[in-house]
Amino acid sequence: MSHLDLLTFARGSALNWALMLFVAGIGLRLFEILGLGRKADLARPRTITPGSGWRTIAMRSLPAEGMLKRDPVTYIGGYVFHFGLLVTIFFFAPHIEFFRSITSLVWPGLPTALIDASVVAAIVALGVLLAHRLNNPVKRMLSGIGDYVAWGATLLPLLTGYLAYHHLLTEYTLMLALHLFSIELLLVLLPFTKLFHTFSLFISRWYNGDWFASKGVAS
């Protein structure tokens, strides 16, 4: 099997299965969570603020008062990583083509030098966050195998993408295939690991904002 064949498989059947498992997994998990339901709150809310869940979805992306100073590594590392990751996923021209082929949506991309910088930033941030996880007693206690698997599964697409672009370690076609395989691994793992926060955090933040707002507090 030549490297191009491997790439074709990665872009073909492997991707199809990964995407299907991803979509099915997301559907399953959303049902699993939302299907448990919640009781209607019979307490009269202090204020009627219908947008409060949405507000918290947005505002919870900012650190709460005084928190940045308490754990700057987690916050700054987290921001750099997520920003780098999202910029890379959504603003690298070839990636946009991928999304266009699935969603028919198009948006402008960024020059590769910027993408390159954001990948490096995200990889460095991941490294720092792993070191922090291993050194911080709280994080170390909370972490299990799942956390490290999720870390690796997140790193691999960034790393293989970087290596492919720069023609490092192996020739481009093989690395591009490995890049796709690593993404497929991530897609399959995402619904069933803590990476599902990608989706569930919106639900969680919404509940949080809704509850607090009914008591008159913007959370």
Partner: protein, 422 residues
């Protein structure tokens, strides 16, 4: 009848709902909740990380309510929740959580960890892993009517004192009054100034109010220990009295969890919305002041600050009211760091102050409050929760600080313009 592990696990299964499933699914183990929790920040012990306190509940969720967890359980790969584990978790779920809700404000993925601790306590209580002191307090609340064992005659004695001191007639069992006043046993025993202050304020404002003989106790040990059936029984006393006396509004006293019990949990425990309103005393005072019915003269010259009780501010939404009230009577009001919805807990909420063995931990956690108070440089600390007040006083005494703690209602009454009684 007794508590068993099976009952506890069944209770865990019963309380898990969509929000809890979403919260556990979202947690990325970032550990930021620890940084928001005074039991962690003041001890640096990782086990006090809020989300860690929920580990047994998380595993029940995973094993019972997720496909992967069910498969794991079938293959014998998952660790079952045991009595030994719940016993180990008891101090984490009770002694080191005041249900203050600070972690819920901080969690980047939006997990309301406090909500989950409250729910988890249902299973802890049902499996017999609630602290003895809290069981005793709850038993007194159910059997005697008050967690501190206070009975109506004690309230009557208070009423007589108030009437003797102020010459004001304290209304009892007055049907059709606008407001039903309830109190915490702490106020009845330790802070009699509250009832006196309230009588004077209401007299001046011309408020029609009443006490109820069978519903004077506002606190609710049931929600603290996590036994909804008992919490319902306790809260229903007030609901029944309020309905019997046809009041428009029940005034929750200067007590944090009583407000949560009555205002937010009550209707859900009863399974029906109330036909009356529930307001915290500070809300009522603020309304009276806005309506011009609360006249004060002079201002307190002492530098003072205000401690936001968690259940009143962060989990109650009463933040602006105390500040508006204080601005009328305090010449040198100084805001504490992190004031308002991000305030640090006194360390004794959520039933923690009732647990004797938790005292050393509570005093250690008090260090944050100590720093906050010291930073303001005041010697007068105002608050609006009798439990906070007791815990603050204990902490202040333990640390040999020269700070006086006063209830806001009481302070307000000191500056009341009293017209001569007709």
């Amino acid at each position: 009848m007794s508590a068993t592990l099976a009952k506890g696990i069944s209770a865990f299964k019963e309380v898990i709902d969509a929000p809890i499933a979403s919260f556990f699914s979202s947690c990325v183990h970032c550990g930021l909740c620890a940084e928001a929790c005074l039991f962690y920040t003041e001890t640096s012990e990782a086990k006090y990380t809020p989300i860690h306190k929920l580990e047994p509940l998380r595993r029940i969720w995973k094993q019972e309510y997720t496909l992967l967890g069910m498969l794991g359980k079938m293959l014998g790969l998952s660790k079952p929740v045991t009595d030994a584990e719940l016993a180990e978790w008891e101090p984490l779920v009770y002694d080191s959580c005041t249900l203050c809700g600070r972690c819920s404000m901080v969690c980047p993925v939006g997990n309301d960890i406090t909500y989950m601790i409250r729910k988890m306590r249902e299973g802890m209580a049902a499996s017999g892993h609630a602290p003895e002191d809290m069981i005793a307090a709850t038993t007194r609340a159910i059997n005697i009517g008050s967690p501190m064992g206070v009975k109506w005659p004690a309230v009557q004695a208070q009423i007589r004192h108030v009437q003797a001191d102020t010459g004001i007639d304290v209304p009892v069992e007055r049907e059709g009054a606008d407001y039903l006043v309830v109190m915490s046993s702490m106020e009845i025993i330790n802070f009699p100034e509250y009832l006196s202050a309230l009588s004077r304020i209401f007299k001046q404002a011309g408020v029609s109010w009443t006490l109820a003989q069978d519903a004077f106790e506002a606190t609710n040990s049931g929600i603290q220990i996590g036994a909804s059936d008992l919490a319902r029984e306790i809260v229903s006393r007030i609901v029944v009295a309020a309905e019997r006396l046809k009041v428009k509004c029940v005034i929750s006293p200067e007590c944090g969890h009583a407000f949560t019990a009555l205002r937010w949990e009550g209707p859900n425990l009863m399974g029906r919305p109330y036909g009356f309103e529930v307001k915290h005393i500070l809300e009522v005072l603020d309304e009276l002041q806005k309506a011009g019915k609360l006249k004060t003269s002079g201002k307190d010259k002492r530098p003072l600050t205000y401690h936001d009780p968690c259940q009143i501010a962060r989990r109650g939404g009463v933040v602006e009211q105390p500040r508006r009230l204080l601005s009328e009577i305090a010449a040198d009001f100084r805001e504490m760091s992190d004031a308002g919805v991000m305030n640090w807990c006194c360390g004794g909420g959520g039933g923690v102050s009732a647990i004797t063995r938790a005292e050393p931990l509570r005093l250690q956690a008090f260090k944050i409050k100590k720093r906050q108070i010291e930073a303001t440089g005041v010697q007068t600390l105002i608050t609006a929760c009798a439990n906070c007040r007791i815990v603050l006083e204990e902490g202040i005494e333990h640390n040999h600080m020269k700070v006086e703690v006063i209830g806001l209602t009481e302070l307000l009454a000191q500056y009341l313009v009293e017209e001569s009684t007709p």
